[in-house]
Amino acid sequence: MPLSANDFPVEEHALPNGLQIRLLRDGSLPICTLYHFFRVGSRNERPGITGISHLFEHMMFNGSKKYGPKEFDRRLESAGGSSNAYTSNDLTAYYEDFAADALPLVLDLEADRMASLTIDDASLLREREVVKEERRFRTDNDIDGMMDEALGALAFLAHPYRWPVIGWMSDIESISREDCERYFRTHYAPNNCTMVLVGDFEPAAALRAIEKLYGPIPSGEPLPTVPTGEPPQKGERRATIRYPSQAPAVLVGFRSPDGRDPDSLALDLLEAALSSGEGARLKRALVYQQELCVDAHVWFGWRMDPGLFEISLKLNPGVDPARAENSLWAELGRLCDEPLPERELERAKNLVRAQLLRGLQTANGRAHSLGQMEVMLGSWRAMLDLPDRYAAFTAADLQRVAQKTFAQYKRNVVTLIPGEVPG
């Protein structure tokens, strides 16, 4: 059953400067969420300035022409709102959740920083230190982070997905103010942005305010082409990390198609079959039956360019990683050799559909879903027929995609071995 367009009366507008606007009114609670999705992430970087997209996300909160340093969040919180942002390989998203009557202020704050962000040496110096702390927290002192970083560098040779979103430490230390200014001019123009507003507001008045505030911002130059070439993988690749952890771990990545490829939806279903819920195949086999792992988890997200289908095994202390790997290969082999039984296929479809619905419960969830569909699939409308597209997959479809994805020569394996690095 598709989602009903009647439940999503989205208004679509575009300004002459290229800004895309999506408005969805919902007066059930006196709140709004505003998202700005910029089509810039770590894939738009180059060696030497890796991490600049993420560092720049931090810089966006440090003042602009009308609202000086510290003012963005101070004004927002004083009006009953909060803000946050995230950077991925493909995009940077900024959002505010706020009391509905704060909408004029929130639009003014956002338009002001898009029009006239202040980038000075002092704030760059401070923000650089904050980002370095974030890197120490998420990567240098975190097993998942350090393994994920190693997997990217192993699986990609040429594509910018090779480096971590947060960037290499030496690059974070050397990004200059001029680099930031150039980045802002190139990637933060209205023609590279989709705005999504969901909540308790009057659409005509909101659109008038948006036109007035954002209309004068000039569009930017055409965006530089991203070097998306990546040679085909011709054999299994391996990397090892030694770290004083309590237990070994294994992270495996298989190259996957880009988010617009229909096979990505099949991989969503395979993800559910393998690791969503306690009855998923990997959990059942590796966690409950064989007791090899504390957790077995798949992560797969749509990307603009061909990405990775990742499988993380957190091993029980003392378990030989080779043993856990062999069990994993056996489970993946089963997906390739035998069609998923009807019961498991339905289970996977129901889990994916329910996840989609649950993600639409909140204003923030709806705004995020609409924006993500716009950026990744080209239109928010793609969301409406997603349930039907998932429902149409057969067990044979999933088997075909499994065979294509999980071939032995396509494995990228990072192993964490407990212990110190000598010296």
Binding site: D7, S28, L29, P30, I31, K70, D73, R74, E77, S78, A79, G80, G81, S82, D97, F98, A99, A102, L125, R126, E127, R128, E129, V130, K132, E133, E134, F137, N141, Y243, P244, S245, Q246, A247, S276, G277, E278, G279, A280, R284, V287, Y288, E291, V294, K314, N316, P317, R343, R347, N350, L351, V352, R353, A354, Q355, L357, R358, Q361, T362, A363
Partner: protein, 447 residues
Amino acid sequence: MNSDVALPPLAIDKLPSGLTLLAVQKRGLPLFHARLSLPAGAAEDPRGKAGLAQFTVDLLRRGTRRRPAQDVDDLIESMGAQLSAEVSMEEAALALTVPSELAERALDALLEVALLPSFEENEVASARRRTVAALQSDLDEPASVAGRAVVTLGYGPGHPYAHPAHGFRRDVETFRREDALGFHATRYQQAGALLAVVGQSPPPELLEFARKKLAQWQPSWPGVSQRLPLPFGALAPSPQMRAVVVHKPDATQAQVRIVSPGLPRTTPRYAEAVVANTALGGGFTSLLVDAIRVDRGLSYSVASRLHMDRRAGLSVFSSFTKNETLRELVDVALDLMTRYAKTGPAEDALEKARRYLAGLFPLGLESHEALAEQIADALLDGLGLDHLSKYRSRILAVTAEQARSIAAEISPARDGALLVVVGDAEVARKALTGLCPIDVRHLEEFA
């Protein structure tokens, strides 16, 4: 923003058994949510059995008297649902969300799991091994270790809240089938329980549906059991500040917590406590965020939090920084929070905190899950619906004098505060020299 937020249509019924029924109508998405709260929280863990409440909840889905574990998983997940099983200090809560048309199947599944666990010997043994392995793995997460140290040391020996819900490895290793059976028989009681259902139907219909379903399951509840009152005494801070350093080899960053006794969620001064804490260390423009992150770039994350449970609470400062700036971060935080305890917030910070909390409050009522949890907790805490329906006006009415007078009670930096550092012990010991007595502990102690 100045008006209170109306709760959605709802109905409440208290059954003779002592179980509370809550029905909430939520229009929009065709979803149904059920949440069963039981008076079986971690505070009920017997002495020497820390983690038993969590262990019991984890075992519920590992087989019922009607079907083995795998079939329980299939029963729940074939509906597209994932069963949430959580333990707070006071309650165990089971919850799931399904498409509306599966409401009856979902509620039956929830009650079967809650009331008919089989606790098969092999599943108990397997769960014990899994839990022990997970507790050891958790030592790789410095923030998790810090959290475990905060509750254990912050509440102190003998306090019912003085252990993490997942318990300690040394206790979990002793768990036997009889422990889980006994805990289930005596704590999974209707008196003090609450069943919440949230769906598209009007509340009387939802209530009737839940009432009928409970009547069908009535014979499956454990018999009535009396329990002894828990020994809740006032928290006694130590006479002077002390530091506990948990040694994590090779850490290049130190996790920092500063802990003092706090307030329970049932305090009549809830609104002023929350406002005063928000000005100090909530949101993104608090005094602590300004001083530590924005002005000095010392950390990515900094906050003060009120760990409020029903019968006790802690005030906790939380941050992390590279080894080289550990002392600077601790000094800045202690200085700022000590001054704040005396002065409270300035007028503009107070106004910002009030409006921030009031404006964002409806976000906590958006999803089916959040509605059920918020209303259930307010009822179980004995705070009533006013706790939510009058939240905004109470927050906006907090005066400068009230905020000032409570600042000393919610600031984590007070005489006798506890400093917890998880990081390289040698680095931390050098950094903290001269500040207060330092006690270095092994990581394993908190497994």
